[in-house]
Subunit: 209 residues, 2 copies
DNA sequence: GAGGATAATGACAGCCGCTGACAATTGACA
DNA sequence: TGTCAATTGTCAGCGGCTGTCATTATCCTC
């Protein structure tokens, strides 16, 4: 099914991601040069840029994959579910799959530490937010499709998705900036945040949680 | 009150912002070099980088100012208002002030066109999102202060602010990517989106708007 | 299994964003 | 007016990124 050429490319790409992650995590993103990454994999700098459009991309490669998985999960849900419910359920059910997909490329612990690097590196944080926005737009299209609304005219798909992804990013950030990070902890924090979406918007916060 | 030196700096900064905006709007962000901006104001490239940390900063200078105004508006509101209400009211009441503040630096129409450039330029969009995130964090602190909650423990300030700014960014984007842009239109679109925050989260979208 | 078509890589040159260092100029203030 | 501090220009240089072209490696067919 896959020729030698194809497999070799895959291996090079994975090696670049792995080497980059290790360098970023140990010595920081800004202080790591593309030359160092390329050298670690024994390819030329030019080759690196044939695999990744820029330095950010290799740092966000795994991250982007997880987000893409989430989107695909949403698309696969039954149409009977209400929009918000659909997003929430997908979140709950994609978690294990994503964990496996990550470990196919890089050790889980390395990825988790990379998440922290992303949060504290302005350039990466910015790129991460932009990438999330792209998926957000695709999500709007999907929610509109599911509900049969025109995404250009009815603001509700936009509003729902914007609020939801805003909260998810916030949760991810809150989790990533803590000391101990684990997939389970991420899941817990994210769920907690999404659950608070309704209460937080209510007029009165008097009642204790 | 201000010495000659001070005034000169102010003038140089404004001139750089203005020249940059004009160049960005007419020939695009990526194709405009810092050298061109510096040359238009007749300063050295090195001087440009003494006024702005990077090329993005000059492009987002006015934008950032408006966001900062909004934040200050929130801080000035009476404590009696509920969190969401406070954000909504601030939005409604800062609009004219912001318009004036913009025109003190650059023609309004130029700024509006610059907003569109930001939306279609990946690097600027990313930086814009990151800057918004910084303000988001400050907003969380402020909302927590107003409600007397611990922003580290209670997720509601985070969740509310994340949802709110997410929707605002989405509204801004929806507005900026249209053909005709005006301040009034922006206000209308933003208000509409924020108003839909509650309905969009409800389980059932059956009822027509 | 030899051949040519095609794809991946390396080497090189060069642009642009950005920074450090130092000297020259300009405004502030006694 | 002279001294001090702030602002600026110049220059050298690094790192991200791209175009180009020759070289090498895989693929496919006969």
């Amino acid at each position: 099914m896959t020729g030698l050429r194809e497999r070799k490319k895959q291996r090079t790409r994975d090696a670049l991601v792995l080497a980059a992650h290790q360098l970023f995590v140990t010595q920081g993103y800004d202080t790591t040069t593309v030359d160092q990454i390329a050298e670690a994999v024994e390819v030329s700098q030019r080759t690196f840029f044939r695999y990744f459009a820029n330095k950010e991309e290799v740092a966000l490669f795994v991250q982007d994959m997880t987000v893409r998985r989430f989107f695909e999960g949403v698309c696969a849900r039954p149409l009977s579910e209400a929009p918000l419910e659909c997003l929430r359920r997908t979140l709950d059910e994609t978690w294990e799959d994503v964990g496996e997909a990550i470990e196919a490329i890089t050790p889980l612990e390395l990825y988790l530490r990379m998440c922290q690097v992303i949060e504290v590196t302005p350039a990466l944080l910015a790129a991460h937010l932009r990438h999330s926005l792209l998926v957000e737009q695709k999500l709007v299209q999907e929610i509109a499709r599911r509900t049969g609304l025109d995404p250009e005219r009815d603001p509700r798909p936009r509003v729902l998705v914007a609020a939801f992804t805003g909260v998810m990013l916030s949760a991810g950030r809150h989790w990533g900036l803590r000391d101990g990070v684990s997939l389970e902890e991420a899941r817990r924090v994210t769920r907690e945040h999404v659950e608070q979406l309704g209460p937080a918007l209510s007029a009165d916060w008097r009642q204790d949680r």
